[in-house]
């Protein structure tokens, strides 16, 4: 089946083209971790015997070096496959949507080669860094174990040195350190990860980033500016991607009608969303209501860079489900000037709500600085069908800074 046929179903579109390579790599990580766990057990049983510890250090070094070699090859394969998949998506979607009427320029082989080389090097650098970091930590802990173990052996009388420390206690302490901190990967934010989980998250997220890059590069080379974000089931209604999915954006940010693509997928770790080209002319021909993707026309206070509200309802009032197109209503609060801001779409239907507090229910609103949060409303056949809850995003925070906690 050709790619443009597969794209007719969402599973085909969002499927990770490097799934097999990622799984293979995860299996390898898993094996390395299990082997090292066994070695740590042996090390503990030996009471940090210097020769066992040195063998352990050597083993860690060998395994991480081998892992790095595999990662280098892996980085090359996944970078190429993901980026190329991004290019292929443009060709396939444009061909499908235009029914073959749009002919894209030939691919710029040199540019593609350079780009893949760059992202491959970055991937390898990232993964090698965390692998080496794990190796150094394990090495340091083994070294520490040898030293402390020697100290205890010299004293011979457990309990006399420092009053309570025994050889067993030292062994257990280092062992715990090895298990809890040594055999972990630490990301740039300092978070500790199980190596397999980290590798999975990193691989899934990075490959999606490269795929998006491929799509956008190919589109820009062909002067195509509009992209659509894929859509899939949001299980708990809290997916941050709700803001983007199924919508159309302009890569350049220069469109009068479509909002700028300020953020590209992946929107979060493990994000599966993809961008696809979207040609307005053919969307119209397919009968798609293109106006639903247009930029909002809310009024802004340009001097302060905030949303302008149409009216403020007094305490105890209720915002209507429908109001004027692109209307904005504020609701007074009992303990704060504005409790809620309600937004209406181009048809005057309630579309979004920003609450400045957790409604006295912080356990259900674990958001923001003080429980402030946002809701998005979903309509179906003229009926209000659902409301999802999420964090207030950066841009919204800026536009509504007059009512949100700082």
């Amino acid at each position: 089946m050709k790619l443009y046929d597969k794209l007719n179903n969402i599973e085909g579109l969002e499927k990770n083209p490097t799934k097999d390579e990622i799984i293979k790599m995860l299996k390898y990580y898993d094996k390395v971790v299990k082997d090292l766990e066994k070695s740590i057990n042996r090390l503990e049983q030996s009471g940090f015997n210097p020769s066992v510890a040195k063998a352990f250090q050597k083993e860690v070094n060998t395994k991480v070096n081998k892992l790095n070699k595999i990662v280098e090859k892996w980085a090359e394969v996944i970078s190429k496959k993901s980026y190329t998949r991004g290019l292929d998506i443009v060709d396939a979607v444009v061909k499908r949507d235009s029914n073959g009427k749009i002919t894209l320029k030939p691919r710029d082989r040199e540019f593609i080669k350079e780009t893949i080389d760059k992202i491959k090097k970055q991937t390898f650098k990232d993964v090698k860094m965390v692998n080496n970091d794990m190796r150094d930590r394990l090495d340091k802990l083994a070294q520490q174990g040898i030293k402390e173990g020697q100290g205890v052996r010299v004293v011979q009388e457990p309990g006399k040195l420092g009053g309570t420390t025994t050889g067993d206690e030292i062994g257990s302490k280092i062992y715990r350190e090895l298990r809890e901190n040594g055999l972990k990967l630490v990301d740039s934010a300092g978070r500790k990860w199980d190596p397999v989980k980290y590798a999975r998250m990193y691989a899934r997220t990075r490959t999606r980033e490269y795929q998006t890059k491929g799509t956008i590069d190919r589109m820009q080379k062909n002067e195509l500016d509009l992209v659509k974000i894929s859509k899939h089931v949001d299980v708990d209604g809290m997916d941050i991607c709700n803001l983007y999915e199924g919508k159309v954006f302009a890569i350049s940010g220069n469109s009068d009608r479509y909002p700028a693509l300020e953020q590209r997928p992946p929107y979060h770790p493990n994000c599966a969303h993809v961008v696809t080209p979207w040609v307005e002319k053919y969307a119209k021909k397919r009968g798609e209501d293109v106006t639903k993707y247009y930029k909002d026309e809310f009024k802004y206070d340009t001097e302060n860079g905030i949303i302008k509200t149409d009216k403020v309802l007094e305490l105890g009032s209720s915002a209507p489900k429908t109001y004027k197109p692109f209307g904005v209503i504020d609701l007074e609060g009992r303990d704060q000037p504005i409790k809620q801001r309600v937004f209406y779409d181009k048809q005057g239907k309630i579309i979004k709500q920003i609450d400045t507090n957790p409604h006295n229910r912080p356990d259900n609103h674990p958001y923001g600085l003080n429980g402030e949060h946002a809701h998005d409303f979903e309509w179906e056949n003229g009926e209000l069908k659902n409301r999802t809850t999420r964090e207030v995003i950066k841009n919204e925070r800026k536009l509504n800074s007059d009512i949100l906690p700082k």
Binding site: G316, L331, N360, R361, N364
Partner: protein, 80 residues
Amino acid sequence: MAGKYNSIDELIQDLKSFKDIEFGYNGREYSICPVHGIYAAGEAWEPSIEFETIDELLENFRVQGKKLEEIITDIELYLH
């Protein structure tokens, strides 16, 4: 000035429209929030009691020992 409900149907309509409801009764504050597919209710800043449906909420949620239907016209609405 706080708002008022004239009947339990108005509350039901608000919940069906996914409105967060903050109210006072006998000097104490309460709220009901349709959030993540459930209805979270309770006294302000106390742990929430969660209900799957509006019917379940109306049947089992108690405000100072009373069902919402019993006190609906007496509560002071701060937000809905």
